[in-house]
């Protein structure tokens, strides 16, 4: 049982390049989330999904797109990377409901030059 995994662990992009971050969970969770963490700050929610085929915006969605084609996977895309998107990205998942623990992946460190 791997829990929540993220690919890649680290990536360097040039401004304007695109990339996709992959999150996978094997806990059969309905809800999945993407957060970003900037230096010295807590995590902020980018987008989330409450089920296969559904996505919704969080606190800081601009510049990102997401897709949830399969229940176990949640993809985060950057169409045209900007230096302001340099951050550590965390994926999380939980069972459906308001009172459920969220489980976090190990993070992806992204540097945009």
């Amino acid at each position: 049982n791997a829990g929540v995994t993220q690919t890649p662990k680290f990536r360097v992009l040039k401004t304007g390049q695109s990339m996709t971050l992959l999150c996978a969970q094997d806990m059969n969770h309905e809800y999945m989330y993407w957060y970003r963490q900037d230096p010295g700050m807590g995590l902020r929610l980018i987008h989330y999904s409450v089920g296969e085929g559904t996505t919704a915006k969080g606190e800081v969605p601009d510049g990102y797109n997401v897709s949830r084609l399969k229940k176990q996977n949640f993809l985060l895309g950057l169409e045209s990377a900007a230096p302001s998107q340099t951050s550590v990205y965390f994926c999380a998942s939980s069972y459906a409901g308001q009172q459920e623990t969220q489980y976090f992946g190990p993070g992806t460190r992204l540097l945009v030059l």
């Binding site: 700050m41 807590g42 409450v50 919704a56 969080g58 489980y103 976090f104 993070g107």
Partner: protein, 109 residues
């Protein structure tokens, strides 16, 4: 939306000391979690505690939902307790967590 504030922002302890970290939130919550982010950046679940008290070894947590705060107690601290402790809360639907800015803890031998 809900606001989450943590105090103190920084804490330095000698090994063996006890500490209390505080989390205040601005509205009623249906989810409150405490995390430890270790020096390698990994987020570790400590407690799911929207109300009541829980204990896990040297760590315990109490949330007083009616007064909108939660406390994390660390007893007999060890160097491996170093890192950043985050409180995160959610209100409303879909369990969307709002994180505090964290308390950075350094435990020296």
């Amino acid at each position: 939306g809900i606001q989450v504030e943590q105090s103190p922002p920084d804490l330095i302890l000698q090994e063996g000391a006890n500490s209390t970290l505080r989390c205040n939130f601005s509205d009623s919550v249906n989810n409150l979690q405490w995390f430890h982010q270790n020096p390698w950046g990994q987020l570790i679940n400590l407690f799911y505690i929207p109300s009541g008290t829980k204990q896990n070894g040297r760590l315990s947590a109490t949330t007083v939902a009616t007064e909108r705060y939660s406390l994390l107690y660390i007893s007999s601290s060890q160097t491996t307790d170093s890192g950043v402790y985050f409180c995160a809360a959610a209100s409303g639907g879909y369990n969307k967590l709002i994180f505090g800015a964290g308390t950075r803890l350094a435990v020296h031998p």
